[in-house]
C-alpha cells in the first residue's frame, strides 16, 4: 500500500503550524531525554525518588503473580523427583555417608577456628541481617540483570547493601523505594565481586557476563589456577560483601577464561536476605586521625602532627 499523504495537512495555516510545533516538541523532548540520560550516567543516584516511587507502584503487580509462577515451576520439579526417586535415593545415601565424615572434620575445624579467633580477638559473628524479602521480578528485555525485591527503605534497606539467598550471593541494592527495591544481580555486566577459591584460597574477581554466568579472573598472572567444580566464596576484601558468602561454582575452564555460574538462582530462591554493608575492622577508620592504607587515595590528607586529635575527620 502507498503511504497516506496526510502528513501535509492541506492549506490550513493553523494545521500546518500545529504539525510544525509537534516536531519542535518532539525534538525538544529528545534533547530533554538525552539530558536526563546524561544526568543518570554521571550521577547514578539521580531521580532516586521518582524511580523509587515507580518501583513501589509496580511491584505489587509482580508480587501478586509470583506465587502462581512458583507453583508452576515447582510442580515440574515434583514430577521429575517422583520418577527419579530410586536413583536419587541411592545417590543421596552415598552423599550422606561422605557428608557425615566431613561434618566431624568440620566440627573440629570450627572449634579450632573459634579458638584461633579468640586468640586474635576477632569477633566472628556477623549478625547483620537487615531484612528478609521475596524476589518477585527480574528485567528480561534489557541488557542489565536487575531483580526486584519486596522490601524498601521502610524495612531499613539502603543503596549498596548486599543481598543473598540461603544458597549464596545474589547481588546488591541499587535502587530503593519505600516498599520495594531493585537489586543488581552478580551476573550483571557491571557487577564485580571479590571472591576466593575454597579449595586453595586463591583470590579472584567475579565479573558478570550478562547471560547468567560469571567470569572469574584470578588476581595473579600466570597459569589458570582453577578447575571445573571449584567453589568460590566472597573474600570480603574491599568491604561491601562480607566474607565467606558462597558465590559461584566453576562450570568451564579454558586457557584464558574461567566460566562460573552463581550458586544462588534468583528464580528459585524463596527469600532474599538483605545484609548490612560489610566493613572489615581493618578498614574501619582508626581513632586518632591516621587513615588506613586501603583508601588513602580518596581520603583527605592526615592532619599535621601539631594539630592533635581535634581535626580527625569523622567519616
Amino acid at each position: 500500500m502507498a503511504p497516506p499523504k496526510t502528513r501535509r495537512p492541506g492549506f490550513s495555516r493553523r494545521a500546518q503550524y500545529g504539525l510544525f510545533i509537534g516536531y519542535v516538541v518532539a525534538v525538544g523532548g529528545v534533547m530533554l531525554a538525552l539530558l536526563l540520560l546524561a544526568v543518570r550516567i554521571f550521577d547514578p543516584q539521580g531521580f532516586a525518588a521518582l524511580r523509587g516511587l515507580a518501583l513501589d507502584m509496580t511491584t505489587p503487580i509482580s508480587a501478586g503473580g509470583r506465587s502462581v509462577v512458583r507453583g508452576v515451576t515447582g510442580s515440574g520439579d515434583a514430577i521429575s523427583n517422583y520418577f527419579m526417586a530410586a536413583s536419587r535415593n541411592a545417590e543421596l545415601n552415598r552423599r550422606l555417608e561422605g557428608a557425615e565424615q566431613e561434618l566431624i572434620e568440620a566440627r573440629a575445624i570450627r572449634y579450632e577456628n573459634m579458638r584461633l579467633k579468640r586468640l586474635l580477638k576477632l569477633t566472628g559473628e556477623l549478625n547483620d541481617e537487615v531484612t528478609t524479602a521475596r524476589i518477585v521480578n527480574s528485567s528480561f528485555d534489557s541488557s542489565r540483570r536487575l531483580a526486584t525485591i519486596t522490601a524498601g527503605s521502610s524495612d531499613g534497606v539502603r543503596t549498596g547493601q548486599p543481598v543473598r539467598a540461603p544458597e549464596g550471593l545474589i547481588g546488591r541494592i541499587i535502587e530503593v523505594g519505600r516498599f520495594a527495591s531493585r537489586v543488581l544481580l552478580i551476573t550483571d555486566g557491571a557487577s564485580n565481586v571479590p571472591v576466593r577459591a575454597v579449595r586453595n584460597g586463591i583470590p579472584a574477581m567475579a565479573t558478570g557476563r550478562g547471560d547468567g554466568t560469571l567470569d572469574i579472573k584470578p588476581l595473579e598472572v600466570g597459569q589458570n589456577p582453577f578447575r571445573q567444580g571449584d567453589i568460590f566464596v566472597t573474600s570480603g576484601i574491599g568491604g561491601i560483601f562480607g566474607p565467606n558468602i558462597p558465590a559461584a561454582i566453576v562450570v568451564r575452564v579454558t586457557r584464558e577464561e574461567t566460566l562460573a555460574r552463581p550458586l544462588a538462582n534468583p528464580a528459585r530462591a524463596d527469600f532474599a536476605i538483605v545484609q548490612n554493608i560489610y566493613m572489615a575492622e581493618a578498614d574501619a577508620p582508626l581513632e586518632g586521625g591516621a587513615t588506613p592504607p586501603s583508601d588513602a587515595l580518596q581520603a583527605p590528607p592526615p592532619p599535621p602532627p601539631g594539630t592533635g586529635n581535634q581535626a580527625a575527620p569523622k567519616r
Partner: protein
C-alpha cells in the same frame, strides 16, 4: 451486533474506543515487563516497543512524534531502564519514521517487517550501548537471542495490532 448507535452513550463509548485503544494497548504491553518471571539472560522481547512500532507502521497518521515521549517515560519507569532511554530512542525513531514515510513510496507486509527489523536492531543496540555507558561490560552477543526473538515476534504483534485496529474502528 448493532451497527447503529441508538443513544449518545454508545456514541461516546465508541469514540473512546477509537481514541484510546492504541495508547492503552501499548501501555499494557509495556507493563508486560512486570510479569513475575525471573530469567538470567535477556531473551524476551520488549513488547511495549514492538506494540508501539506495529501501531506506528499500521497507522502512520495517527500519532505525532511527541506521543512517544510520555510513553517512553512510562516504559523507562516500569521496566527500570535509566530515565530518558526509551523517551529518546522512541521519539527519535518516530521522527525517522516520519522522514521515511515521505520518501518511501511503496510499503507492504515484508517491507514493514524489514523496517521493523532494522528499528528493533537499532533499539536493542542502543539499549546495550547505554548499558555500557552505565558500566555494563557484557558483550553485544548477550543480546542476540533477544534480538532474534524480537524480530520473529514482530509479525505476531503486528497481527494483534491489526485485529485491535479492526475492533477499534468497527461500527
Amino acid at each position: 451486533m448493532s451497527r447503529i448507535a441508538f443513544n449518545s452513550a454508545a456514541v461516546r463509548r465508541k469514540h473512546l474506543r477509537r481514541e484510546y485503544v492504541p495508547i492503552v494497548s501499548t501501555i499494557l504491553a509495556c507493563m508486560l515487563s512486570l510479569l513475575p518471571i525471573i530469567v538470567s539472560s535477556p531473551m524476551i522481547p520488549d513488547f511495549g516497543f514492538l506494540m508501539l512500532i506495529a501501531w506506528r507502521l499500521l497507522r502512520p497518521e495517527m500519532w505525532a512524534p511527541a506521543v512517544a515521549l510520555p510513553l517512553g517515560l512510562f516504559n523507562d519507569l516500569v521496566a527500570g531502564h535509566p530515565i530518558g532511554q526509551s523517551m529518546a530512542i522512541w521519539t527519535l525513531l518516530f521522527i525517522v519514521f516520519d522522514i521515511m514515510d515521505s520518501r518511501v513510496l511503496f510499503r507492504d507486509y515484508w517491507m514493514d517487517w524489514l523496517i521493523a527489523a532494522v528499528a528493533i536492531t537499532g533499539y536493542v543496540y542502543a539499549d546495550w550501548y547505554i548499558g555500557t555507558l552505565l558500566g555494563n561490560t557484557a558483550g553485544f552477543s548477550v543480546m542476540l537471542p533477544q534480538l532474534a526473538a524480537s524480530i520473529l515476534a514482530f509479525p505476531i504483534v503486528a497481527r494483534l495490532v491489526l485485529s485491535l485496529d479492526r475492533w477499534r474502528l468497527a461500527r
